[in-house]
């Protein structure tokens, strides 16, 4: 421990003496036991902006776990209950304060947490933010999708501190084991503002893989007609160990909850296999899934735009094709 602290001090000295070089503050997301997939992808995205210091809101144990992530150079942690639920008003001044201690980049995986927090940090730092990058050209130049992924903008930031969120599906995940970063408590006075009170959350529980990181995703759209018919997709998903998603049409008509929505305004997924069932393929939906490796479409309308992006398209009644597909899977 003594040695770790000593190393951390040396590192912070070398950081302040070489401010011109990149050094990244990566705001970690975790569930109390492991780093999120988005955080691991962000570590990979920051390979050109090292060293990487991970900021962990949580216990020393969680910080020690985070320190094992491959590619992380240091971990700073702040253990305070006010940080528990990712309340942006509490996090923002903290991240701002640490960012100003010599970091050139402040980064996180794009998620509902960082989407709430990072613009707040940017405004406090008086810098622009680059959201949801899919490629790093250099320390100051990034590529990000605009217009629901129908165009890719290459942007250059001349801000002294670059605030960036990373699209998790666009980068490989760093290994959660194998690293040995120095861990230290962040040298900050943290006091809660209390303007926002977290009350409760309702998180849909499922033993299925998480939608954003599943290898296979099966999504249903308006063609399923009722929420009950989603059971058909659940059953297929069970066989394929897949997550179940939905189009906005399915969510809007109350067939399934909003957190299942794949698209520009929902989740962005890029699984190995994406099966779109009864989904026409509106621009907004394609924005959320067109980087999937293999796309299958099952739709009875041969003119549906989804067939323009599908590797394999089956023009058939889904109520017949889906049960048949399930029965014929190995």
């Amino acid at each position: 421990m003594q040695r770790a602290l000593c190393r951390a001090t040396q590192r912070s000295r070398s950081l302040s003496s070489s401010r011109r070089h990149a050094s990244t503050l990566l705001v970690a997301e975790h569930d109390g036991t492991k780093l999120s997939e988005g955080t691991l992808a962000a570590i990979t995205a920051c390979a050109q902006m090292k060293p990487i210091t991970l900021l962990v809101g949580g216990s020393a144990e969680m910080a020690a776990t985070a320190a094992k992530a491959d590619g992380v150079d240091a971990v700073q942690f702040v253990d305070n209950d006010a940080l528990n639920h990712g309340v942006a008003e509490e996090w923002a001044p903290l991240v701002e304060g640490i960012a100003k201690t010599g970091f050139t980049h402040v980064v996180a995986g794009a998620s509902s947490f960082s989407k709430g927090l990072f613009p707040r940090v940017s405004a406090l730092l008086d810098v622009a933010q680059v959201s949801d990058i899919i490629d790093v050209k250099s320390e100051d130049t990034f590529v990000r999708p605009i217009y629901a992924g129908n165009a890719l903008a290459t942007v250059k930031s001349e801000d002294a501190i670059k605030v960036v969120t990373v699209r998790p599906t666009s980068f490989d995940k760093a290994a959660a084991e194998g690293g040995s970063a120095a861990v230290s408590a962040a040298a900050v006075d943290f006091s809660a503002t209390g303007t926002t009170t977290w009350i409760s959350e309702e998180v849909a529980k499922s033993d299925r893989p998480e939608l954003a990181s599943a290898k296979t995703v099966i999504s249903g759209g308006r063609g399923l007609k009722t929420g009950d018919n989603f059971a058909m997709l659940d059953s297929l998903a069970l066989k394929l160990n897949a997550a179940v998603g939905a189009s906005r049409a399915a969510v809007d008509s109350g067939m399934c909850p909003n957190d299942m929505q794949v698209g520009q305004t929902g989740k962005v997924v890029a699984p190995d296999l994406y099966v779109a069932v009864g989904i026409s393929g509106a621009i907004q939906h394609l924005a959320g899934m067109k980087d999937s490796k293999t796309i299958v479409a099952i739709n009875k309308d041969p003119e549906a735009p989804i067939f323009q992006v599908a590797d394999y398209g089956l023009v058939d009644d889904l109520f017949k094709a889906v049960p048949e597909l399930e029965s014929k899977l190995p």
Binding site: T197, W198, P257, K267, L273, V296, P302, L314
Partner: protein, 254 residues
């Protein structure tokens, strides 16, 4: 709470339009392309008008930053029930580089000038897909934020906000004044009726310049180029489920 609400509305290329990247890669083609109010902004306007109908607030002020055409978007908000508009005129190069940071500085300055108790914005614009302006505005004012809201209710001088988060929903309570950003499920925006469109023509739109508000529009973010995304290779149609299973097996996907 019984004060004034500012609603930010943005004019964007209509959501149903298939956009085209300019041949010189400087941006996307906007000339002659159908524009309309950003869908999330419509939801923000609807929510503000509803609060007024419930007599929880007194006045709804619609704000848009941009060239002359931004006034059309403000008119739409007025026809939906906003009381008056503020057009913050930004043109030319300033408009090309106008981003969330600049807009949030304008919104924050207006909130102070107009003594607003609440700002409602959409969660993101469907053109730049940034999802930043509301949060930045809240930070500049040092107000709390209720982002990605799917339900907003007033509890005395506080707001209860149900938020769409990864994995489900979250409920928070925030002090006012505050900034709220609207998610799709917050409400279903009303259509402006012809009589209301006619009435909206009589409502006032004030014209201000960013400089009047003491806001400097300098941007340190530059768009170097805009490209078409890589196109997917054309796929194939399969005749039967057996065919499909065979192809997926061959591709190693199942």
């Amino acid at each position: 709470m019984s004060g004034r609400v500012l609603v930010g509305v943005k004019r964007v290329i209509d959501y149903a339009v298939k956009i085209r990247v300019k041949p010189d890669n400087s941006g996307v083609v906007t000339d002659g392309v159908k524009h309309s109010m950003n869908p999330f902004c419509e939801i923000a306007v609807e929510e503000a008008v509803k609060l007024k109908e419930k007599k929880l607030i007194k006045e709804v002020v619609a704000v848009s930053c941009g060239p002359q055409q931004a006034q059309e978007t403000i008119r739409t908000a007025l026809a939906m029930g906003a009381d008056r508009g503020i057009h913050v005129e930004v043109t030319g190069k300033d408009y090309d580089t106008l981003g969330p940071l600049q807009v949030s500085k304008i919104m924050a300055a207006l909130a102070k000038k107009e003594d607003a108790q609440l700002i409602i914005l959409g969660k993101q614009a469907i053109d730049d897909d940034c999802n930043q302006t509301g949060q930045m505005t809240a930070a500049l004012l040092d107000w709390p934020q209720g982002t990605f809201a799917s339900e907003v209710s007033m509890e005395g001088d506080k707001l209860k906000v149900v938020r769409e988060i990864d994995g489900g929903l979250e409920t928070i309570k925030i002090n006012t004044p505050a900034v709220v950003t609207a998610d799709l499920r917050l409400n279903t925006p009303r259509y402006a009726t012809l009589p209301n469109i006619m009435k909206a023509k009589k409502k006032k739109i004030a014209n201000v310049k960013p400089a009047d508000l003491g806001v400097e529009l300098k941007s340190r973010l530059e768009v170097l180029r805009v490209d078409e995304p890589p196109q997917r290779q054309a796929g194939m149609k399969v005749e039967t489920v057996d065919d499909l299973v065979g192809k997926l097996k061959d591709a190693g996907r199942i």
